[in-house]
Symmetry: C3
């Protein structure tokens, strides 16, 4: 038995939790901090049998991994024509930090 502790972006959290639960994983979501720190992050605990660990990690990576997105520039800049035009910029979104811990005992009561 392993315990996965995963810290993901809030915007990915609902999708990764729904996907894990659909695949039969049991997920406990810990409340995010209200403070200045790590606003926008969600911490999840997932208990898994050893043979299901890789499946859970694959789901987390698939949904949450850091990726680039094209966004429109937040404020338009002057183009060479002298007109203000928006332009595409690349931003990095998502990302997950994952710890796997050994579980010494596991009990359902």
């Amino acid at each position: 038995m392993k315990m996965i502790i995963a810290i993901v972006q809030d915007e990915d959290s609902q999708r990764v939790i729904a996907t894990l639960m659909n695949e039969g994983y049991s997920v406990t979501k810990l409340a995010t901090t209200g403070g200045f720190l790590r606003v926008g992050n969600t911490t999840m605990m997932i208990g898994v049998d050893d043979e299901k660990l890789d499946g859970a990690l694959a789901i987390i990576e698939n949904v949450c991994k850091s990726r680039k997105q094209i966004a429109t520039s937040p404020s338009p800049v002057a183009g060479i024509t002298g007109m203000y035009v928006p332009y595409p910029i690349e931003v990095t979104v998502g990302g997950a930090t994952v710890f796997v811990l050994n579980v010494d005992q596991f009990k359902k009561m």
Copy 2:
């Protein structure tokens, strides 16, 4: 030293925490999620000396274990006499999911 991480029903959480603390265990309650998931659950962390582990697990099992209760049916149904009568139904309440982790170092500062 071990760390117990126990996920219990909210309705059992005050009683199990009070019982553990009366017996000298140190309990940290993690905030439950505000979201759609696991509403009604409380997650607790309990650090215990190895020789007190079984005592803590026995308290959690005793207070929180899944059990059947008789409840009155939520909406009355028509009996054979044609009158609406409430009837008893059996529901399962409580339950706990418990992980025990090995602690590599423990410090009180």
Copy 3:
């Protein structure tokens, strides 16, 4: 890799988190409980490379360790002159409970 789980006083938490982050540690603050229990405590998770463990523990001890402070008595008492005078009392503040867990796998995605 190790995971530090540290329970500190709220009044020390901002300072210890800021100090840890300035030194390059990655800290996740878990929401404190809203309940009767452990009001005033903050739980933090810190993932550290083995060789940086002692540095993190030293920061936590330095900022959070239990210490005595001189406070003014909350209500004045009668001095030998018969007048009510405040007097200094020694109170204990701070303190931290720290668990170090072994991390089986660590992934940044």
